[in-house]
Symmetry: C2
Subunit: 83 residues, 2 copies
């Protein structure tokens, strides 16, 4: 069966996010001063061929651990839907 | 009130995603050949101070249109929760 995994990879809360900080400042310069604490990470979608939803989620998690996320600096979350 | 906006900015489906293609090939080299069609975009979180959830969603959409997404090449989706 086909599944679609949606993965968010975000910098850990404890770490500075210079890209987010720069975007935060730019938004303020554009007049959007109600916006604070911008954090920027990656959103990744995968199509997975697997027998069960659990197997698909396991594959997506493997992909995160092996390649997609640097767990020293980033946390990831995976959600799998039928595709 | 405080709201948190979760924004996904993804390349349009019609467009090539060279970064996703490269990651797809790397995943196959790592033995995860059940994974196909990798697409990579941005996940952005914003803290927003606004009167209503609708106002917060409007601010997040403004931020996307003005700065966060290049609408020629990217599509965005916004979801707002109370923070």
């Amino acid at each position: 069966m086909k599944y679609i995994a949606h993965i968010n990879v975000m910098p850990h809360k404890e770490l500075l996010d210079p890209q987010g900080k720069a975007v935060n400042n730019s938004l303020h310069n554009l007049g959007l001063s109600q916006i604070q604490d911008v954090r920027i990470g990656k959103h990744i979608t995968l199509n997975i061929e697997a027998g069960t939803k659990e197997a698909a989620a396991q594959l997506a998690e493997d992909a995160c651990k092996k390649l997609l996320a640097n767990q020293v600096m980033e946390a990831f979350e995976v959600s799998v839907i039928e595709g």
